[in-house]
């Protein structure tokens, strides 16, 4: 009796906690509502299965608990039942996998009009690079890294000269425009993660990784590092500001290009 009640309470408690506890995902700020939808589908399917299995166990414990003179049934197999259960499980699994794969396809298919934002990670800070007027970013390599050129932008690549370099400051993004995040690291693995965007991807020294999304809500969001990167991993933070186009342009105007940073003396003279 007691065991059956506790098992039932585990189910009830879990369901109540799920619906009533204050801990839930952050309000979304990107186009990846589909991901949230798939999570909800998965919660429902798995929740029903969990409740069914545990409640069935509770019932068995209640009903078939040993009493004097009881004897168990002898039933080695039941092919029909076993196949029905297997097929039913297959259908449930397909119901989760199918939408999942469709959304994954969208997740890895970057729209043509996405603008590029490069994120460069190093222990334990974020830097960013935006393309200049030419819409492209210049080549880069760790071999070019110097104290004056911390992102390793190739000084000989003309596309790199007008790139906007943001160091020690927040990233700003225009509201409602798809962005492709190009992710780079110079020392160890990192991961550029903004919970509200529902997206993350590791950054690997020696490679460029990416993901894309469209910011759909203005605000200031936490940037976290989501891949262990040594002592300072917990504190590798930043912010990303999503704002309407006008504000964004105003912010962009104040940023320095690679060329300006390389020759600080001459730019100051011009200003």
């Amino acid at each position: 009796m007691g065991v059956a009640i506790v098992l039932a309470l585990v189910v009830i408690g879990s369901v109540v906690f799920h619906f009533l506890s204050p801990w839930w995902w952050t309000p979304i700020a990107s186009n990846w509502g589909y991901i949230d939808d798939t999570i909800i589908i998965t919660f429902w399917i798995t929740g029903v299965v969990f409740a069914a299995v545990v409640l069935f166990m509770a019932y068995c414990v209640l009903r078939f608990r040993h009493r004097e003179g009881n004897r168990a049934a002898y039933e080695p197999e039941n092919k029909r039942l076993e196949w029905w259960l297997a097929v039913g499980t297959g259908v449930g699994v397909a119901a989760m996998l199918a939408p999942g794969l469709v959304v994954w396809h969208q997740f890895v298919t970057v729209p043509k009009d996405a603008t590029i934002v490069e994120v460069v990670a190093q222990q334990w800070q974020w830097a960013y690079r935006l393309p200049g007027a030419d819409g492209r970013i210049g080549a880069s390599d760790v071999a070019h890294i110097t104290p004056e050129n911390p992102l390793g932008i190739d000084p000989k690549d003309p596309h790199g000269q007008d790139d906007v370099v943001i160091q020690g400051d927040n990233l700003h993004l225009p509201l409602g425009k798809p962005v492709k995040m190009l992710l780079r690291a110079v020392d160890v693995l990192h991961n550029f993660y903004v919970p509200e965007f529902r997206a993350k991807m590791d950054m690997i020294p020696g490679s460029v990784t990416y993901y894309w999304f469209t910011p759909t809500r203005a605000g200031t969001f936490d940037v976290l590092c989501a891949e262990l990167c040594g002592t300072g991993h917990t504190f590798m933070r930043g912010n990303v500001v999503v704002e309407p186009e006008g504000n964004y342009q105003a912010w962009l105007q104040q940023q320095k290009t690679f060329a300006q940073l390389q020759a600080p003396a001459s730019t100051q003279a011009k200003n």
Binding site: V3, V6, L7, V10, S21, W23, W25, T26, T38, I39, T42, T46, F50, V54, M57, C60, F64, H66, N70, R71, A72, A73, Y74, E75, P76, E82, T89, G90, M96, G100, L101, W104, F107, Q122, Q123, D141, G152, L183, V186, D187, V188, L189, Y193, P195, D202, I204, P205, G206, S207, T220, D222, L224, A226, E227, L228, C229, T231, H233, T234, F235
Partner: protein, 586 residues
């Protein structure tokens, strides 16, 4: 079914070892220390595994103290925290669970359940234990060397694992890699032994399809381990070379803290593939023995044959095979080519089907059973709850796009603790309560046992169920504290405190268990040869605890499968596997 259950003695087993051929120990040292008896080796493995497991448990308290009460324990700085999670994770997965299931239960149960006198290669078996022991000592040495143990995370991802800014990069990482290499060497010796013994050492009549599921689980897991560990082995050797000789297997060109390193051209992601080609099967290397054991616990204590035995065997084998083609589900956000996501998500979710079949068959075994709520049965029920819970959250993480927001968060920590931490540990406890009477001849205390069960089961559920939601919120794993995140409400700190307190209580309950283990050796109720009235061969030995050679003069002959419980018409509610068929009245 008839062929599985009731036919008379099958083919002769290939290696019938005569008692005289065994090496009988002549001194105390060869009997208890350098023993070649699989049963003694099993106990040695188990004691060392539980001892080092205790270290991992203490580390989990320290981590939880930091997370629950950040800032209160100033000696747990980020470096130490990372050293603790790394050692905790590695010890739990490899040095506790793998060693205990295969080295401990495997050694004890394979010869006894199959009606063999011992393992086929007793000497190699002894070496296997001593190399394991050495591996544990080398691992522990990390705590005492300058710089302490490695804090690279149990996944040891390069480049970070071997660079400055990661704690333990002087010595810790080296001893970790060497220890893993030793562990794999020791395991390979033991593992080959288990496989050969299962294939060659079975008693007359013990066909493969009459083996208890415990043996099927251990056997499949061992085969998998023999195939999976080499990937970790080469990964560890390559990383050692990168660290010591300056090769660049895993090291691209790097600027670390403004310094240009000498490496170039290597691939960090190559290590991840090697690691998870081992790491995912590893999850099942721990899970399959648990599956097998729990099947036998449920069947014995519900007095009912396991439901769908053949399906259970094939499900084990299918899971074992499939688990070699899913490894990259740990790498969905690693930056590997996104197209792999489609493949690995599909294979991963397909594994859910044989796994679900196993769950159905466990609960269907309860249906119309005669359920004795003994301590092993309680642990088996607890296993089903936590395993189903953790298995289902695996469907979130396996479904590639759902994994994107959840990966590397506390959701993952909660998931794998539920499914491969708590669930197998509950089986280990259940199995210890179940087989302890055979090992010592005495029962473990029942009242303490029930207390141990309820605190551990409910406590573990309370620790890890709410933790999923902290991860769903977006809190990353391997974070020293959760302050300074705008999206985390202050109430999360309260939840963290609660989890920590429960974790300390659960930890204390394990001390009660250890006390029970030690106390009952002398003071437990005498058990007799077959206290659970079980059918499998280990309960039919002439002596309890079984003597060296297990069976006295004659090896047992097997006439039936392992699950003849409550057979209609039989006088008792169980028929031992070595009981000859009674002539049917015409």
């Amino acid at each position: 079914m008839a062929d599985v259950t009731h036919d008379a003695a099958g083919p002769l087993s290939a290696a019938e070892v005569d008692d005289v051929e065994l090496y009988h120990p002549k001194s105390w040292i060869t009997k208890y220390v350098f023993s070649q008896d699989a049963k003694v080796i099993a106990i040695q493995y188990s004691i060392v595994a539980l001892a080092i497991g205790l270290v991992a448990l203490v580390l989990s308290w320290l981590m939880r103290l930091q997370l629950g009460f950040p800032g209160t324990f100033s000696f747990i700085d980020p470096d130490r925290y990372y050293q603790f999670i790394t050692m905790h994770g590695m010890i739990m997965v490899i040095y506790l669970l793998t060693a205990l299931f295969l080295g401990g239960f495997g050694n004890y149960l394979i010869p006894l359940m199959l009606g063999a006198r011992d393992m086929v290669f007793p000497y190699v078996n002894m070496l296997s234990f001593w190399i394991y022991f050495l591996a544990v000592l080398v691992l522990v040495a990390g705590f005492f060397l300058p710089g302490g143990p490695t804090g690279a995370g149990w996944t040891l991802y390069p480049p970070q694992a071997i660079l400055a800014n990661t704690p333990g990069q002087q010595w810790g990482i080296l001893v970790m890699l060497v220890s893993l290499i030793l562990f794999i060497i020791g395991f390979t010796m033991g593992g080959l032994n288990y496989v050969v013994t299962v294939l060659q050492g079975r008693a007359r009549g013990m066909t493969l399809m009459r083996m208890p599921l415990t043996i099927w689980g251990i056997f499949t897991a061992t085969v998998m381990a023999l195939l999976a560990f080499p990937a970790l082995f080469v990964g560890a050797v390559m990383m050692l070379l990168d660290k010591l000789v300056g090769t660049s297997f895993f090291m691209p060109a790097i600027i670390a803290m403004g310094e240009r390193l000498a490496h170039k051209g290597g691939s960090p992601i190559l290590f991840q593939h090697l690691f998870w080609f081992f790491g995912h099967p590893e999850v099942y290397i721990v899970a399959l023995p648990a599956f097998g054991i729990v099947s036998d616990l449920i069947s014995t204590h519900a007095r009912k044959n396991i439901f769908g035995y053949r399906m259970m065997v094939w499900a084990l084998v299918a899971i074992g095979a499939l688990s070699f083609v899913v490894w990259a589900h740990h790498m969905y956000v690693s930056g590997m080519h996104p197209a792999f996501g489609f493949f690995f998500a599909t294979t991963t979710l397909i594994i859910a089907i044989p796994t679900a079949i196993k769950v159905y068959n466990w609960v269907l075994t309860l249906w119309r059973g005669d359920i004795h709520l003994t301590v092993p049965m309680l642990f088996a029920l607890g296993f089903i709850v936590t395993f189903v819970n953790g298995g289902l959250t695996g469907l979130f993480l396996g479904n590639v796009v759902v994994d994107v927001p959840l990966s590397d968060t506390m959701f993952v920590v909660a998931h794998f603790h539920m499914v491969m931490g708590v669930a197998p540990i509950l089986v280990i406890f259940g199995a210890i309560y179940h087989w302890y009477p055979k090992v010592t001849g005495r029962m473990l205390g029942d009242v303490l046992g029930k207390l141990h069960f309820w605190v551990t089961f409910l406590g573990a559920y309370l620790i890890f169920f709410p933790m999923h939601y902290i991860g769903l919120m977006g809190v990353p794993r391997r974070y020293h504290e959760i302050s300074g995140m705008a999206f985390v409400p202050p109430s999360a700190a309260t939840l963290n405190e609660f989890i920590t307190i429960v974790a300390l209580i659960v930890g204390a309950a394990q001390l009660a268990f250890l006390f029970n283990l030690v106390w009952s050796v002398r003071h437990g109720r005498p058990a007799g040869g077959n206290p659970w009235r079980a059918t499998t061969l280990e309960w039919q030995t002439p002596q309890t605890p079984p003597a060296h050679g297990n069976w006295g003069k004659d090896l047992p002959v097997v006439y039936r499968w392992a699950y003849d419980y409550s057979v209609p018409g039989a006088a008792e509610d169980f028929l031992p596997q070595n009981q000859p068929p009674t002539p049917q009245p015409a």
